[in-house]
């Protein structure tokens, strides 16, 4: 689903694009008395879990299909079945339905769909795939709903359906001038046969998509009324805090429940049994209390003794040494090869060699992990922030020995996701605690828990060697990469990782007649996961930094050098995505746009520098020019100009926000973020020893330019991340002469 065929198999399986169940007819009887709620009401919808068959909206309106409920006052509720974590998916996907259905957007509200893959299709949210997938499925669901309403109107008006039009939640008969509100027609759609297919609009006819819209949740957020996982409140609900094994694989040997139980408010102390690598729940002890604070205080008294773990001697330094060894010889996996790079490098008169290194980094979502679970007999009710309710439900069913259909999931707003909330560990853990109680329980992670039990972006070491031809362009290029593979975390039996882990390196579009990419997995017990952009967060850093180094050796401008080299990918694997094949022209176009808009090549005063980089991520193209100043040895990012080709832009305001946010988060990672392991334990604990970017470190200016906006939309959540680190390192080099090949770049880069 991302970067063409280079996507991790694990995530692809978990986020598979299921056939959408939408378009079928689901009729609910109207109770016919609800007033339309004001704007932002959708956020409350997320906090009011109800069984799938009878959501709040359905009880008081007619379901035209799974995604649309029309209310008696002719307002509408649109159900969004993807998780909202800041990417404006509740706004953009709802707009897609409203567009095809010609809904009155001013009177539409958004409701979060509960887990029900049969009705809503794949609800996993990741891989920058929501809009890309919805472009066909959700628009068609909207078009089918429209067809039903038009058919009902045709019957009611005795007019041919072909002649009827729709606008602002009404069917209009231009011949007679009659207008029938959807609310009237919705009561009649039960008699209509659901169309097998319905034509979607020509994008040139869009009235809502492509225009400026505020986020549907913005008013509720500004009032403090938006509901996240930690805001879930249920009758008799208790709170839990869990002390987890500090070293992967360590198990609870003993603990003192009595001291914890003596703390005011503590109700119960229960053990959390470790679960297998498919979910990675660590061994732990949960303290359950009537407030979060009491649970946290009780936890401090547990005095847990941990049994030894085979991972207790692991540390970042020897792990790096292992990656050094791996990249100093042929890799265990040959990802791809063109020509004879080994032979050509062996006989080259000069070889340029560089080594690039990145550490583990954490997601550090602002809302720490949490979930609320209740076990009633053979049923489990789950409520909280997850990017993948289906994986969570299946994992909970397995851990608790329940039938999968007996596990329900209500998805709240997510206080950040970035890939962390794909993993279901924290959901399973909450269910394991709830199983031992007769009340709903909210398991609350502290920031320390969150930073120490993340699924981290893995550390990576890249060694690239190249020789240049007579004109200074690369003749041979050998890229050796080692990481702790992400997918090995959930599938320790997996044998092949290189194709996914090297996405962005093995798939680079630079023309080199002799090139290869080799990969070696360097195991460690510390868990790895998908961090916004995933593999390209380090592969693009290595490739785009090295390109700059080669351009300098060749005496060429780094922008011109790239433009001259971008070409078709000629390696035999991975295979391109059939709908979104790699396009050299699209990559060149973003590069050109970024350079032009930034005024690339203009003279900058001493102490300032500009760097450029580009990349393909999740099928979209991005190029950035970063301008820095280093007066007094303190780095300041003055300006980031970003050109993006994600095809058609459906929600421009939200799209710009994704680019801005990706740039700031990537800047944070490039400048500051590092997780280290010692004695098998993660050493960092909170924002004091794991600093992330603050407002005073954010770029003064971020400019966003979209190109190729007439093409089919691809993803946008992640593509702005990869070019930032190399463009920044390249800019710092221009400003100071110091080349940073290791992230994070220190606070004083000069």
């Amino acid at each position: 689903m991302s970067g063409g065929a280079g996507e991790g198999l694990g995530r692809r399986a978990l986020l598979r694009a299921g056939a959408l169940a939408g378009g079928g007819l689901f009729l609910a009887l109207a109770s016919c008395k609800r007033e339309a709620k004001p704007e932002g009401a959708g956020a409350e919808g997320a906090a009011a879990p109800a069984p799938a068959a009878a959501t709040e909206a359905a009880r008081e309106g007619v379901e035209v299909n799974a995604f649309v409920v029309v209310h008696p006052d002719n307002s509408a509720t649109i159900r969004v079945a993807k998780s909202e974590m800041g990417q404006a998916v509740r706004t953009t996907l709802a707009l897609m339905v409203a567009e095809e259905l010609d809904l009155d957007w001013g009177r539409a509200r958004v409701e979060q769909a509960p887990l029900d893959a049969k009705r809503f299709g794949d609800q996993g949210t990741g891989g920058s795939a929501s809009v890309r997938g919805a472009w066909t499925t959700l628009r068609e669901a909207g078009a089918k709903a429209r067809a039903l309403l038009v058919a009902a109107a045709a019957e009611k008006l005795g007019a041919p359906a072909e002649g009827l039009k729709t606008e602002a939640s009404h069917v209009v008969d231009p011949a007679s001038g009659r207008r029938v509100p959807y609310a009237e027609l919705a009561l009649l759609v039960g008699k209509q046969k659901a169309p097998a297919s319905a034509p979607v609009k020509d994008p040139n006819d869009f009235k809502l998509l492509g225009r400026e819209h505020a986020n549907v949740d913005a008013p509720a957020i500004a009032r403090g009324a938006a509901r996240y996982g930690l805001d879930v409140r249920k009758p008799r609900m208790l709170f839990a805090s869990i002390e987890r094994a500090p070293v992967p694989g360590a198990k609870v040997a003993s603990f003192r429940a009595d001291a914890a139980l003596a703390v005011r408010g503590v109700k119960k102390v229960v053990e959390v049994p470790a679960q297998g690598p498919d979910v990675n729940v660590p061994s732990g002890v949960a303290v359950v209390a009537d407030s979060t604070w009491a649970a946290m205080q009780g936890r401090k008294k547990l005095a847990i003794e941990w049994a030894a773990s085979p991972h207790a001697s692991e540390a970042s330094a020897p792990h790096l040494a292992e990656m050094e060894r791996a990249t100093s010889a042929a890799g265990r996996e040959l990802v791809n090869r063109l020509g004879d790079p080994d032979g050509e490098l062996a006989k080259a008169r000069a070889v340029v060699r560089a080594r690039y290194e990145v550490p583990f980094i954490a997601h550090a979502t602002m809302e720490p992990m949490n979930f609320t679970a209740e076990v009633r007999g053979d049923k489990c009710l789950l409520t909280g922030p997850t990017q993948n309710p289906e994986w969570a439900a299946k994992s909970v069913a397995k851990a608790l020995g329940l039938a999968p259909e007996n596990v329900s999931v209500e998805v709240t707003l997510l206080g950040g996701g970035f890939g962390r909330r794909l993993n279901p560990d924290y959901v399973v853990e909450a269910a394991l605690v709830a199983k031992q109680l007769d009340a709903p329980v909210q398991v609350v992670w502290t920031r320390e828990d969150d930073l120490r039990h993340d699924f981290y972006r893995p550390p990576a070491l890249h060694v690239i060697e190249a020789s240049l031809d007579a004109k200074g362009y690369p003749h041979a290029w050998r890229h050796r990469l080692s990481t702790a593979a992400i997918s090995a975390t959930i599938d320790p039996e997996a044998k092949e990782f290189g194709l996914q882990e090297s996405t962005g390196a093995s798939t680079m579009l630079y023309r080199v007649p002799h090139r290869s990419c080799e990969y070696t997995h360097a195991p460690i017990g510390t868990k790895r996961g998908w961090w916004r952009g995933v593999h390209t967060t380090h592969t693009v850093f290595a490739v785009e930094s090295f390109l700059d180094e080669l351009a300098e050796k060749a005496g060429k401008d780094p922008y011109e050098y790239r433009l001259a080299l971008i070409d078709e990918l000629k390696v035999d694997r991975p295979k391109p995505n059939k709908d979104f094949p790699w396009s050299p022209d699209r990559l060149k176009a973003v590069l050109k746009t970024a350079a032009e808009k930034a005024g690339w090549g203009k003279a900058l005063p001493p102490g300032r520098g500009a760097g450029i980089a580009c990349g393909i991520d999740h099928l979209s193209y991005a190029a950035q020019v970063v301008e820095v100043s280093t007066a007094g040895g303190a780095l300041r990012v003055d300006r980031v100009v970003c050109a993006v080709d994600c095809g058609r832009v459906l929600n421009p305001n939200g799209a710009r926000a994704q680019i801005e946010g990706g740039i700031v988060q990537a800047l944070s990672a490039a400048l500051k973020e590092k997780i280290s392991v010692n004695g098998g334990r993660v050493e960092q604990s909170n924002f004091d020893d794991y600093p992330v970017a603050r407002i005073n470190e954010a770029p003064a200016v971020i400019e966003v330019h979209f190109v190729n906006t007439d093409l089919r939309p691809s993803g946008l959540g992640e593509p702005s991340v990869p070019p930032l680190a190399p463009a920044l390192a390249n800019a710092i080099y221009r400003a100071t002469g110091k080349r940073h090949r290791s992230l994070p770049i220190a606070a004083r880069p000069a």
């Binding site: 500004a222 009032r223 930690l230 409140r233 707003l413 801005e660 740039i663 004091d688 407002i695 005073n696």
Partner: protein
Amino acid sequence: MFEVTINGKRHRLDVDGDMPLLWALRDVVGLTGAKFGCGKALCGACTVHLEGAAVRACVLPVSAVAGKSVTTIEGLSADGTHPVQRAWVEENVAQCGYCQAGQIMSAASLLARKADPSDDDIDAAMAGNLCRCGTYVRIRKAVRRAAELTKGGAGR
């Protein structure tokens, strides 16, 4: 037992005095607008006003606010029309939105002290509030817009 005025209403809190105000607000009073992010006054998600000034509720014991007046995001305005709240919506600041209640409370406190803050003033006052989605550029714009809304007499 501690008596605290929260959003203009008196509450008697039967909790340990060392319970941070944040947990009393969220788990006892039932006001969940102030968020938990770090528990060590490092991220600002829990920012509320104590006698009008921005404080981090996650490290402020209930005993320290006895007899005092606390305002949370829910009490900043009756209907979301405080100039900072309006500016936040108009600039479409929020992405995930989790940190934004704290951001808004910090910005409101800044503007109450300084009606026309410079860019450096804004960065200095807002540097205690982390946003992992990276909305900082829009936060700067929204604080400036809120200052204009306030100046224009368009406040609540």
